[in-house]
């Protein structure tokens, strides 16, 4: 029985190896326009970028950008709720055409997917209990910090945290924030939007300790979808120009689109920014 089970696993693996042929292919704007519907992946647990509204529908900054894009393409929009860890697998496995899913542009991710120019940006800081005296990474010695697994926060924090700091990785941002609010961790790596939200909920309980990184979020597409990327870059340039993107930003974040997002016109520029 023991041998059979193991053999079964191997057989399963073998079948996959043998048949693993077609899967993700590049996507073009024409293909989407012919179909008449664009499938766009987005987060629903990352306020205010992606939420479920009171009617139970996906909503938020990302949803509005997605709708604006569909309108621009002249197609119907089908918003697909994805989760943080599933975002890239969803795209690579063709479940969605593209993702307006608050996906930060990072060199690691850029190896797997292609990005448009940034459509949003957030700054990331270390944030936590007001009583803690922490002003730089060295002060994190012996502390426990919660982050979303493999997020920009995680990468930035892992790079600077001392060896004896404990980094607790949650499946998504919401769980890390939840852990801070419920007192399970004293500190988290968090974006300015999350921080604004927490300040509104519990003023004076927490404060910002120091800045970790800036992040620019791009629309993610299948690798080698150059036509689609070009289309998206052009779309974003026009929407930045005519102020529509800014209006959506004002609506959801009560602040204008950050300058560093507005002036960055391609994913490569965003990646160069990180390289500096």
């Amino acid at each position: 029985m023991k041998h059979n089970s193991i053999r079964m696993t191997l057989v399963a693996a073998g079948i996959c190896l043998g048949l693993g042929g077609t899967a993700a292919a590049q996507t073009t704007p024409e293909e989407i326009q012919e179909r008449g519907t664009v499938n766009i992946g987005m987060l629903v647990d990352f306020p205010p970028f992606g939420i479920i509204n009171q009617q139970g529908q996906p909503d938020g900054y990302d949803a509005d950008v997605a709708k604006l894009l569909a309108e621009d393409m002249g197609v119907e929009v089908n918003l697909v709720a994805v989760t943080g860890p599933n975002r890239i697998p969803y795209l690579l496995s063709n479940r969605v055409d593209l993702e307006v899913a608050s996906l930060g542009i990072t060199p690691e991710r850029a190896e797997r997917v292609d990005y448009s120019a940034p459509y949003a940006g957030i700054s990331i800081s270390l944030y936590g209990d007001g009583g803690l005296e922490i002003s730089d990474p060295a002060d994190l010695s012996g502390q426990t910090i919660g982050v979303a697994r493999a997020s920009t926060q995680d990468n930035a924090l892992t790079a600077v945290a001392p060896d004896d700091a404990t980094i607790q990785r949650f499946d998504d941002d919401a769980s890390a924030v939840q852990a801070l609010v419920s007192g399970q961790v004293p500190l988290i790596g968090a974006s300015n939007t999350v921080i604004a939200e927490l300040e509104g909920m519990a003023p004076d309980r927490f404060d910002t300790k120091f800045d970790l990184a800036r992040q620019m979020q791009g629309i993610a597409v299948h690798p080698q979808s150059d036509e689609l990327t070009a289309y998206l870059d052009d779309f974003l340039a026009r929407m930045k120009e005519n102020g529509e993107l800014n209006a959506i930003h004002e609506k959801w974040l009560d602040a204008p689109l950050p300058d560093f997002v507005r002036t960055t016109s391609s994913a490569q520029e965003a990646l160069d920014y990180y390289a500096e």
Partner: protein, 218 residues
């Protein structure tokens, strides 16, 4: 964006419970068909068939249901097929239920006294006739209680579909909790809804088990 945990949120969670029920129903229906096949294969005279059924059962009883979901969810797309979380969850849980029900029902079929089989031989009944008219009806009576018991287990396992992003009861609770920061209330309510679904089934299963034990003791 912080929301009060109000009536809208309660309704959202309650409405999501129907997806828990839908997923459970699909997996249970599919698992019943699959389970019957697995059980028949398991007791078939063909060693190859019986062995294959055994491996199938061992695999699903020996790996975490969460991994079964992940493998189907991430695995199917390798073959170039597009699956929604509901479809992936339905397929994974159908296979899961097939293995468990197959093993439960095999036990029930083999619990039918062998004299019954011998008597049907004596009457010259062929395999199909014997199974359909003599063995399976008697096995079915024995099977009701453990089958209902497994249904409860299956409903609980559907909660794992939340991890691949299917918005059923547990995932709805997570989403609301992330917007309200009221984990005590939210997960308390979610637990209550599961309890309201599962407990009556558990009671039915237990009552049937008792009744069967009494009949068997006679």
């Amino acid at each position: 964006m912080i929301r009060e945990f109000g009536p809208d949120e309660v309704v959202f969670i309650l409405m999501a419970a129907r997806w828990t029920l839908v997923l459970s129903a699909i997996a249970f229906a599919g698992g019943s068909v699959g389970g019957l096949l697995v059980a028949m294969a398991r007791i078939s005279p063909s060693r190859w068939l019986a062995g294959a059924a055994m491996v199938f059962i061992r695999f699903f009883q020996g790996t975490p249901p969460l991994m079964q979901l992940f493998l189907v969810f991430f695995g199917i797309t390798i073959f170039g097929v597009d699956v929604a979380p509901l479809t992936a969850a339905a397929i994974a849980l159908t296979l899961h239920a097939s293995a468990f029900l197959g093993e439960i029902w095999r036990g029930c079929i083999q619990a039918v006294p062998s004299g019954q089989t011998e008597a049907s031989w004596a009457l010259g009944l062929r395999y199909g006739m014997r199974m359909r008219h003599i063995v399976l009806p008697q096995a079915a009576r024995i099977a009701v209680a453990p089958t209902v018991g497994f249904a409860v287990q299956l409903i609980k396992v559907t909660s794992l579909a939340s991890i691949i992003g299917f918005v059923e009861l547990t995932r709805a609770g997570q989403i609301i909790n992330n917007a309200t920061y009221e984990p005590f209330m939210v997960f308390g309510l979610v637990a209550l809804v599961y309890f309201a679904i599962c407990w009556p089934l558990s009671l039915v299963a237990r009552r049937m088990e008792r009744r069967f034990a009494r009949i068997a003791a006679r």
